[in-house]
Symmetry: C2
Subunit: 239 residues, 2 copies
DNA sequence: TGCCATGTGTGCGGTAACGAACATTATTCA
DNA sequence: TGAATAATGTTCGTTACCGCACACATGGCA
């Protein structure tokens, strides 16, 4: 069984008072999340909810013709499965592990039970939901208006924020799927970034050399989402 | 003061038990919503929440360079201001009346007070939130993968569903702003639809002649959103 | 060691949408 | 009735991205 202190590794669990986490602890287990793990498929009833720790989970939509696009990413700042709290038992999105690591799993029933008690968990989950909505909305406009290059920068920054390292294990093919663009488009944009000395990469490994330049070259979307996420996270739990 | 029966005109209010609506009634007032009315601006604390009746409200993101894109539309199936319920006091989006009509207004404080009582209102609002999330996410992928023509069809269908008529009061310029594309692009797509006899239009008035053809020519996004919205709406209030 | 799957680079024709400029037609209002 | 404004139509060069095809390089594995 996990120890209380371990729950600190996820921002939502960390923000809960000890009274609540103590109650939840017996129902939480650590699981490993290898790259590509599918946490849920569109339309499928979701049994459990997941709290990423050092992993990143992508929520993506897959279209009839197979084309896809990521609509948001979840790291240890959030949880996967908010639609459980929203009352729908499923979503139209696919949740897939984009960066391997571990996560905590809790049964959906336990989760909504605690959510329904109207404790801090509810406050935190709703607030996180708003952050998620912001990210989705910004992704929508970004898809409309920004270049592949800008989006690549945004995407790298979002990933960096959710890992505590400057190294990403990511093929360009995978990134292309997330952004919903051609792999060649990513190759070209990444190549330029490498020439400029902002990143260096090598067969599925990306190392970020100059985070600031990356932020400069990114579209505003990254910062908008980050600001809103920070704002929501820094709000007092009771209000 | 409004009468109880009038609240039936908004799906969320209509689904509430009499006990709750009776309590809310004194705090709800009818307001007129002329085209272009801004219900809230990004970052601005929102005082009130709005329940559209025969009007349509667009949530849109405006970028630094002035470019914009609609991320979702709200009609009498929903409400404007869910971020109030989510606990953030503002959003990054702009809410603007896209089709004139009336709406009901309630003070945000009363709203969250009732929301916090954990009544049916909470269930309904959360469920609606999920529908909204679905719409945003689908908009994101639609922006990525579909043509202006397909998106125009989708957008017209979304609007028709929220009005009980086949006539829209809409300039192509306005539609272009919503879709985040050039006005000329809309002109071209609309021109084709008119030649095909699917719609006919005339200086700010669009009349839909053949809804079925419109649905055929639209991308799948419309139907996905509609199905999910219907699914969520038809769920029992208690669960 | 050599093979092969995987990841990346590159070039090419095609196209949807862009930005800009301008023409044309309705509608409003002085 | 005429002028101004608003809405739509049309054209043109440009661009970002697509789909496809294929070359090349690397690293794991037989």
């Amino acid at each position: 069984m996990l120890k209380l202190v371990q729950l600190q590794r996820n921002a939502i669990l960390a923000a809960l008072p000890a009274e609540v986490t103590t109650r939840l602890l017996p129902h939480i287990e650590e699981i490993s999340l290898p790259l590509g793990t599918v946490l849920y498929e569109p339309g499928q009833t979701m049994r459990d909810v997941y709290f990423p720790i050092d992993s990143i989970v992508s929520l993506l939509y897959v279209m009839e013709n197979g084309a896809s696009a990521e609509i948001s990413v979840v790291g240890n700042e959030g949880l996967v499965g908010i639609s459980r709290a929203m009352g729908g038992q499923s979503t139209s999105s696919r949740a897939v592990v984009q960066s391997a690591g571990i996560g905590y799993r809790m049964s959906g029933r336990r989760f909504i039970e605690e959510f329904g008690r109207h404790t801090d968990l509810m406050t935190l989950v709703l607030r996180y939901t708003q952050a998620l909505i912001t990210q989705m909305a910004q992704t929508a406009v970004c898809n409309r208006h920004h270049t592949i290059s800008q989006q690549l920068c945004r995407w790298l920054l979002l990933s960096l924020d959710r890992l505590n390292t400057d190294d990403l294990i990511m093929t360009q093919e995978l990134i292309a799927n997330m952004l919903g663009v051609r792999r060649e488009g990513v190759t070209e944009a990444a190549g330029r970034l490498q020439k400029m000395g902002v990143i260096e990469y090598h067969r599925g490994h990306i190392h970020v050399l100059d985070r600031d330049r990356l932020a400069e070259m990114s579209c505003e979307c990254y910062q908008v989402v980050k600001n809103e996420t920070d704002r929501l996270q820094s709000m007092p739990t009771h209000c």
